[in-house]
Symmetry: C2
Subunit: 259 residues, 2 copies
């Protein structure tokens, strides 16, 4: 479990969760921290199970051997299971000060990772012969970004629904960026094998729109995300944070060109 | 997911959870029902993942093809994952009336299924060359029985710790009964392949103590369980319920001999 979680990637989702909580006033930082940690643990769990031989059979992840390569398939299945459980246990740990927020947090996070609309559903679309691209990407990638913004708001005692659009738009932006990276990056920058979408016949925005088209789409989505931020005490700081965080979405090559 | 959960087995763990809640006064039946359902969903999830090719590679379960045989390995992994998530979502659903009980319920249930002391840890012991039998059985079987009694008490607003012994003792009794069934039953009664402990070199109480010895041990554990019931409004009814429920632990052959 430690091998899966450390060292991490960019921790985009938990940082987004905490940033939204801070923008909403963050009257209970422990709740926001625990929600953010739970979301990252669930993301890590999904990586371990996605890498299994019966799915992507991926040999490396975040620049090191994937869990089933390092520890064997049984331990990889169990580590993923235990990370899911630990995520929910972590949510409970953050509920000391505001116990009435826990049920909403739990529902929000659970729905973003389970079936019928969470990560598990997204991964299950890969088993189908006819795939709705929108449903697939919304479930597999978008749902946890929505959970990050919505849970951040709930943890801070704010109205959650106005924060859904920010998560959904950032999730879509991240997906486009991921598609660009799959085509533009080398394995070292990506920390996992490149060209996997083409190899697996998965839809890829950069293949569909061209690299320039995908880059425009990504910039458009980042602008839409920043504009979607609802009125809140820390809106100005959050806009700056989102711009800084999303600049990391761009592959090095595009970031260099833009600079 | 429906295929895994219906039709079920004896539903021993959720019935135990509800029985304990009723014995404690059950001032919030929805909380107890949801805790019981969560526990059964987690039990079902563990069966699906245990049956996977990388663990038991079991062809049948509850008298029908196991999930990976019927739907393929990817869907079996995902169905298990989604059932874990659904269990926690179900806990949240039961928290409307007594939100302050949710964090304790969540912790109790999560600890019984995760690592380092829950079902996942128990299953992981099977990957080790040197196994502590007690740790293995306590984690793999006992932990969810403890969760059933403790969660029943928490859901009803009662002090949870006095209920731990009942769950632990019933879990041990169930393990001995399961060992007896693995040796005494035919595949039809068991709904899964027999003789698996010997085939997999797993410890088996009936092999260690003999069938008579294991039967005595089972009766002794059932008596100890009934005696462990702490003072509560419905103690008399609960004692009768436990006796009736545990009589189902005995394989048909032993039950006939006892009659």
């Amino acid at each position: 479990m430690r091998y899966v979680v450390f060292p991490g990637g960019h921790r985009i989702r938990p940082r987004l969760c905490v940033s939204v909580a801070e923008a909403c006033g963050d009257d209970d930082p422990e709740a926001a921290d625990c929600a953010a940690a739970a979301i990252e643990l669930l993301h890590c769990a999904s990586l371990v199970h996605d890498d299994l031989p019966c799915f992507d059979d991926a040999p490396i992840r975040r620049g090191k051997p994937s869990v089933h390569v390092e520890y064997g398939e049984p331990i990889a299945v169990l580590a993923g299971d235990a990370l899911i459980v630990l995520a929910f246990e972590t949510l409970a740990r953050g509920a000391a000060r505001s116990p009435r927020r826990l049920a909403a947090l739990l529902r929000c996070v659970a729905q973003s990772v389970g079936a019928p609309r969470g990560i598990v559903a997204g991964q299950a679309w890969e088993c189908e012969s006819a795939v709705s691209l929108t449903d697939y990407q919304r479930s597999k990638t978008g749902s946890l970004f929505v959970a990050a913004t919505v849970a951040g708001a709930i943890a801070a005692g704010a109205e959650p629904e106005p924060w859904r659009m920010l998560g959904a738009t950032l999730g879509e932006a991240y997906q486009v960026a991921d598609d660009l990276r799959d085509i533009l990056c080398d394995e070292e920058e990506l920390g996992k094998p490149i060209g996997q979408d083409a190899a697996r016949l998965r839809p890829n925005a950069a293949a569909l729109l061209g690299i320039g088209g995908a880059k425009n789409r990504l910039e458009q989505l980042v602008r839409a995300a920043v504009e979607s931020i609802p009125p809140c005490p820390g809106a100005v700081e959050l806009r700056a944070t989102i711009k800084a965080q999303t600049s990391q979405f761009f592959p090095r090559q595009l970031a260099r060109e833009a600079a």
